[in-house]
């Protein structure tokens, strides 16, 4: 959003602005208050007018090197100093450094008598002197309307006020004038808005269902674009923070990096890698199904990766969570000690939804976590309707995605009807939805877990049994048999039965094997026997053959010798003889 703002400002150089330094306000006003012009801040008593204007001065003096004059018509300087000391601002020091000048204008009707014509030149001189003495660039007139209670001549007052605002413009100071909200639709009791026409900011403090929410709205801002919505704001130990949460453009960066859920078996169900970084995960289930344990595992895993994590707890105190998680072997305390993990526990009824959002927004901005856990979001229903909670969560998810923070919500489902409502309320927003549910069977209650959806990744469609032991969380496959889904002891029984079957089978297989072995041995013995027989027969045969051969050879030789002897001649003779 800020980027877009900067762009538009580059294109059309609009009227110069003075940044207030108040968190969020500069974004709504797209740069700050009109420079060198008066701005009216109005609202009921106790809505934070004085604080806002004072913070404008102090931030100006400290951050923008613009000294400021605070002219108070209501509170004495010492009271003001005390009031802002609780916010960590040292007005005395700033005054000594000539960065801020407080001037208390005391108007007491009982001390004053009016006769004839007069003007407010004294006020002008005082203000002018204060401005010149510290070279102020910013001026605050806190509840100028007190003049009306001190002085009776309205005609003079009105004329002088008109002159005062013109005079402020001529002086070139950026001024804030505060005014009490009038009856009906009037912004201020004395119609100050008639005189201050450049910028009007309305503060509001509403109590709905016994929960108060402060809101801010820019009623008008001449010559500038500005946010027109009502923005909730928070006053805490750091002053005012306004939350501009309107950007609902779906133009976020996406990451395809995956982060582990902390439960290996769950990662396996999610394509083996876990959730996408910057995605939102909903874990819903009935009471006691281990949603918080899953969330704690997730947080623990993030901290083990040296990522920072904020755990917003709306049901249990941090100590309680840490103790409970010890029982399943998760040590969150060590992460807290290393400042990797921060708990932020508050009852939902502490303040309104918007304020919760502002508080979360602030914490997240400051701590810059990689992972955020909200446990459980359903408790927020106590301070708003389903649609309000949904609207708030949309904005939160939007903001978190912009910051590339992975978020895990847990949601309690009470019964089926509410279940549908709450889950559907958020389910369309989240990227992954894990459902943990009770499976009641065979006289016992077990937990089953499955993934309802997980955008953009292959995920298991199986129901797993979710078990919580001293060592931690694990998922085991449930038995899907002819008797339906088997979990818990039924699953164990089934497992045992299967084991018995296996042993029996193993035994049967073994005896069959041995039988065959024996047969083989017998056959092998027979084969070798036969072979031996065959060999002896063969040898016999060979012997006869050899004998015959020998006899043949010998007889041949003998015949030859006999023949030679008969001829008694040489070989030639013999040959010739033949011829």
């Amino acid at each position: 959003m800020t980027k877009a703002v900067k762009k538009t400002q580059l294109h059309h150089p609009l009227l110069p602005k003075t940044p207030t330094g108040i968190i969020g306000l500069d974004e709504i006003t797209e740069g700050g208050l009109p420079k060198g012009r008066p701005t009216l801040v109005c609202g009921q008593a106790g809505c934070g007018k004085t604080l806002m204007s004072l913070e404008f001065l102090i931030r100006g003096a400290m951050e923008f090197n613009e000294p400021g004059v605070f002219m108070a018509f209501e509170e004495k300087a010492s009271e003001l100093t005390m009031n802002v000391a609780s916010l960590g601002f040292d007005l005395d020091k700033l005054q000594a450094e000539k960065k801020i000048k407080l001037d208390y204008v005391h108007i007491d009707r009982s001390e004053i008598e009016e006769t004839g014509e007069y003007n407010l030149e004294g006020l002008f001189i005082r203000l002018g002197y204060a401005i010149d003495s510290i070279k102020a660039k910013r001026v605050v007139l806190d509840t100028l309307e007190n003049l009306f209670s001190g002085l009776t001549n309205q005609t003079i007052l009105r004329a002088e006020l008109r002159r005062l605002f013109q005079w402020l413009k001529d002086k070139g100071v950026t001024a804030i004038i505060t005014g009490e909200k009038g009856d009906g639709n009037a912004l201020t009791r004395q119609g100050l808005e008639e005189y201050v026409s450049d910028c009007v900011i309305l503060l509001d403090h509403r109590v709905i269902n016994q929960i108060s929410t402060r809101r801010l709205r820019i009623v008008k801002y001449r010559g500038s674009v500005h946010g027109t919505n009502e923005y909730p704001f928070l006053i805490d130990e750091e002053g005012i923070s306004v939350l501009p949460i309107t950007s609902l453009k779906l133009e976020k960066e996406v990451s395809s990096k995956r982060i582990s859920s902390g439960i290996p078996a769950l990662n396996d169900m999610l394509g083996g890698k876990g959730f996408f970084k910057g995605s939102s995960v909903l874990v819903s289930g009935t009471a006691g199904t281990g949603k918080t344990s899953i969330a704690a595992y997730f947080a623990n895993e993030a901290c083990n990766r040296k990522e920072r994590c904020i755990y917003f707890a709306f049901e249990e105190s941090p100590r309680q969570i840490i103790r409970n998680m010890h029982s399943i072997g998760v040590d969150l305390q060590k992460h807290v000690d290393k400042d990797l993990l921060r708990f932020f526990a508050s009852r939902p009824t502490l303040y309104g939804l918007e304020m919760h959002l502002v508080a979360m927004y602030k914490l997240i901005k400051k701590f810059k976590p990689g992972v955020v856990v909200l446990d459980p979001i359903t408790n927020l229903i106590t301070v708003g309707s389903v649609s309000e909670v949904k609207a708030m969560l949309i904005r939160l998810i939007d903001f978190l995605q912009e910051e590339q923070i992975t978020v895990m919500f847990t949601a309690l489902t009470l019964n089926n009807i509410v279940n549908e409502q709450t889950d559907e309320g958020v389910s369309s927003l989240v990227d992954a939805w894990i459902l943990v549910r009770d499976i009641e069977f065979n006289g016992e209650r077990n937990r089953g877990m499955y993934i309802m959806k997980s955008r953009g990744m292959k995920h298991s469609n199986q129901v797993r049994e979710f078990i919580i032991t001293d060592k931690g969380l694990d998922l085991v496959e449930v038995y899907l048999g002819p008797d339906g889904v088997l979990t818990g002891s039924a699953r164990e029984a089934q497992k045992l039965q299967e084991q018995t079957g296996q042993v029996l089978r193993d035994f049967a297989v073994g005896s069959r094997d041995r039988e065959i072995m024996r047969k083989r041995k017998v056959l092998e013995a027979k084969i070798s026997n036969l072979q031996m027989e065959f060999e002896s027969a063969e040898e016999e045969l060979n012997k006869i053959h050899q004998q015959e051969e020998l006899v043949k050879n010998i007889s041949l030789n003998t015949r030859k010798e006999i023949a030679n002897m008969r001829k008694g001649g040489t070989e030639d003779n013999a040959r010739g003889g033949k011829k």
């Binding site: 204008v105 006769t115 004839g116 004294g122 005082r126």
Partner: protein, 97 residues
Amino acid sequence: MTKQKEPIAYELRLYIAGKTAKSVTALANLKKYCEEYLKGQYKIEVVDLLVQPQLAEGDQIFAIPTLVRKVPEPIRKIIGDLSNEEKVLVGLNIRPA
């Protein structure tokens, strides 16, 4: 002759901003009333805020002209050109209301 012996019962300070018509009228009116009712017991100090703007804060001045009765206490302030004699006298506690 008795003027010197009597103590100054009224210490008055008139704040003005330059010689405007209103300041001149106020000063003239004041002098007239004092001479008439407080002859010899008063002291008037005129402060021009254009010259000494730092003095405005001390006496909580916001309107011009303003007449401040420093003595006797309590401090009283009368703003305006002092054209209404009755109001000035009541305001300065010269004449009981």
